[in-house]
Symmetry: C2
């Protein structure tokens, strides 16, 4: 089974358990609505790639970790879209959860998916209870306070922002979770894999800034110009478009250099290199192809 199929199967199993009867039907529907169809599933894909590079010694743990990570990511999108944050009408090309189901069910959907993520990992304790506990601790660290995506969102309510801490928590945290959980699920130490996740996270932050500055809502499937609107720092404002693209490629070169020794090192480097292309806005990608000597 390829990564996408494994991720989808593990998420579907968890959501189906969450919809068991008797349960409130609309909240049950909202769970499914939130996670299907998914976006690029980039975080669990990175997690599985790292696990595979390390030998994927306990596939059941890898599957659980990938599902848990994506469930947390989906939960964070639902809460970030709420009227009190981004007040977004669309996400992944369809109405946001609070637009489709109302605000109460959007809050509860996010809560339920967070809880489901930890449940999925706790169930994997049947395969290896100590590794399951370690996976839970990484996921909680990268999700809650003081280091996780909740902290990242929390920085946006501060007058004085620690920019490094903000970006690490807001965008970096779940990428660091991805590489570290992938390694852990394969029986490797988590620590050496932090830098790869951190750098991929930085690159995605720049790519997100580029998309936010360049694309229209129809292409993106969610509102654009949000950073400008909310006065958030943005790499395009700082470096310009060409500068931001160059910066992103530099970060990914650093990411490749940081990959720890493992059987799948070359495969991982190739994957990161491919991301550099995917993350470059289309028009600029084409420019690069037209001027191959550049």
């Amino acid at each position: 089974m390829n990564f996408a199929a494994r991720i989808d199967k593990a998420i579907t199993q968890a959501v189906t358990r969450g919809q068991a009867q008797p349960s409130p039907a609309r909240l049950a529907s909202a769970l499914h609505y939130t996670v299907h169809p998914g976006g690029a599933r980039i975080r669990p894909t990175i997690l599985m790639s790292v696990a595979a590079a390390c030998g994927d010694r306990t596939p059941a743990l890898t599957d659980a970790a990938a599902a848990a990570l994506e469930l947390i990511h989906c939960a964070s999108l639902v809460h970030d879209d709420l009227p009190c944050f981004d007040d977004a009408d669309t996400r992944r090309g369809k109405p946001t959860v609070h637009r489709a189901f109302g605000e109460p069910l959007a809050v509860l959907t996010g809560d339920s998916l967070i809880i489901m993520a930890f449940d999925v990992l706790a169930r994997s304790a049947d395969h290896d209870p100590l590794q399951a506990a370690r996976l839970i601790r990484i996921l909680s660290d990268r999700t809650g306070m003081p280091n996780g995506i909740c902290a990242g969102q929390g920085w946006e309510s501060e007058e004085e922002v620690d920019l490094r801490a903000y970006h690490r928590a807001k965008t970096g945290a779940l990428f660091m979770a991805a590489t570290q959980m992938g390694a852990l699920a394969s029986g490797e130490e988590a620590e050496p894999w932090e830098e790869l996740g951190a750098r991929i996270g930085e690159a995605f932050q720049v790519a997100d800034d580029l998309r936010d500055a360049l694309y229209d809502e129809g292409t993106l499937g969610k509102p654009v110009g949000q950073d400008d609107l909310h006065g958030r720092p943005n790499a395009v404002t700082e470096f310009g478009v060409d500068g931001a693209i160059a910066h992103m490629r530099e970060i990914l070169t650093g990411a490749i250099a940081s990959i720890p020794k493992c059987p799948g090192e070359a495969m991982l480097a190739k994957l990161v290199r491919a991301q550099a292309e995917v993350l470059t806005p289309i028009k600029w990608r084409a420019q690069q192809q037209m001027t191959p000597g550049e």
Copy 2:
């Protein structure tokens, strides 16, 4: 150390970890504001009582379980108070979190406390990884979908409500978690302890209905008449005040009968009997004392 001191210490340790620097200062404050000063800490007290009745064989697990349960309870109060649910201005005699810190930080406070609860339990894996995983599974089951307090709140967005499932999830779930986690933390099976938790939960539901119908906001520290306002089912509407009190005492008699054989059985029975008195509204308590033959 008595139960209250152990609970407070475990919660304070967890919140202090969540406030480590660098982190967004206002969200860090909101975490503390939400859990201190606490309410009656009734759920973790029940958990510790059951653990003690079973011998409290691994106090570190008991402390972690009690803190995790109370963190989840506090998180649920913050989210339930949000404008899209109860829109409450006060809680425990002070402004609700969203009134004091704004809605974005109230959402994030709830999220962070949920995550912190699972983190606390995962850390207790150092003492016994398999038991820690079991504790996490009970807590997630009693908190999320389809059986937990999220499901309970979700039923309030349905046109057709399964009343039994609604009450079990909304009020019963965390009491069942309390008795089952207390037993598990002491190395006992969780299953035989479900009924005690369920019955205590039912009694608290009736007591809550009584308080909601009888008390004013100053006495209660939170808005009253919420059930009437939101059209929710209520035992006082169904049985009248005297009937509801009699019903509550009957439920607690059943609770005592359900206590599994254990060294502290008599102590637990006494504790439940004392609750019957505490849960009876003051005026009716006095009436009972004046007519001792009744």
